[in-house]
Symmetry: C2
Subunit: 209 residues, 2 copies
């Protein structure tokens, strides 16, 4: 049992991983199950995950991430994706509620239609939501991993088009970030100080921060 | 002390809040301090927060959120912003490290320059990062609030331009989402089921999910 607030404060972005440590697929599945507890508009769950654990595949991913060594050293590196057409799954998402009698098929159809409406002919909204939901799940992933005794490192330093090509990821998915996952090694920098609360928070009125 | 994994599983999006409950500014400041423990590229910390606690201001925000009652009912509603020009704060962010002798002024200048480079003449990257970092902080906010005994509700159903106008928020800030914060009331729906892990996770190779 790990205190949630302590986990939030302990979590720091790791650059040096113990490359001798492996991680079981079952552990990755458990952390992804935690990550999917994040919220999303209409429960669309735009997040998708490609977990890269194979040594050869990690090398290829490292090459697409400007050769940053941590991608190869980490036990796994997760490609977090956001689905631009996540709303298309609304019928699948609502099916258990229809089956349980919680909502009618008519209500499900109407909800699916309302959920899809803002994405129609609006690529900017599609992208915004793919990134927003992907990031919500990514943050939950990192907190859950930390709670389970792992360390992580979020990364945006990679070529998204190259990553998509190497891993056979179609254009409906936006790479939101990479998360390296594993065990720490010597040489990591201390946690970076944050701006003070009063530098980022205002009450009842905006301002230049 | 609240177990991190239990908090992740308990957190659910709340629609009905107890409007008789207030929240102290000190509590909001504590949760925002937790939220700022989220990671960001180069530690830029693009997130900003406007906490709306004043009853009149909550009414105005509710009107800009298609009149959804929860905005007015919640003890506070937080406007989470992302700074499109967050990189401009890099000198402020690095100053404590220079002062402590951890890095030289020359190293700080060089880091600030590298951090800023991808944002130059790239409005899409500015927006992506504002949303990505804002969402990472928003998720941490919701988990921290839950750990501290509050409930939350993330919302994207609002008019961002109207919110900016009402609260005097300039165009350098993107409204990433609203988070209602407070205490639960009767009438909330049960937590929505999630897609299974195998519906959102692949190993070493992408696919159509």
């Amino acid at each position: 049992m790990k205190d949630a607030l302590a986990v939030i404060r302990e979590r720091t972005s790791i650059n040096h991983f113990d490359s001798s440590k492996q991680i079981h697929e079952a552990e990755i599945r458990a952390i992804v199950a935690d990550a999917t507890q994040a919220p999303s508009s209409y429960n669309i769950q735009h997040w998708r995950f490609v977990a890269v654990t194979d040594p050869e595949r990690k090398k290829q991913l490292q090459a697409a991430a400007y050769n940053q060594a941590k991608v190869g050293q980490a036990s796994a590196t997760i490609i977090v994706l956001g689905d631009l057409r996540g709303y298309e799954k609304m019928h699948t998402i609502l099916a258990p509620l229809v089956k349980a009698g919680t909502i009618t098929q008519e209500a499900a159809d109407s909800t699916a239609q309302r959920a899809a409406a803002p994405y129609m002919n609006n690529p900017q909204f599609q992208r915004d939501e793919a990134i927003r939901s992907g990031a919500l799940a990514a943050m939950t992933f990192m907190i859950a991993a930390q709670a389970r005794g792992y360390v992580t490192g979020p990364m945006i330093g990679f070529d998204p088009e190259q990553v998509k090509r190497i891993f056979g990821i179609s254009d409906r998915y936006v790479p939101v970030m990479l998360i390296t996952l594993g065990h720490t090694a010597p040489g990591n920098s201390p946690r970076k100080p944050r701006l003070g609360v009063d530098e980022v928070l205002a009450f009842n009125q905006g301002r230049e921060f």
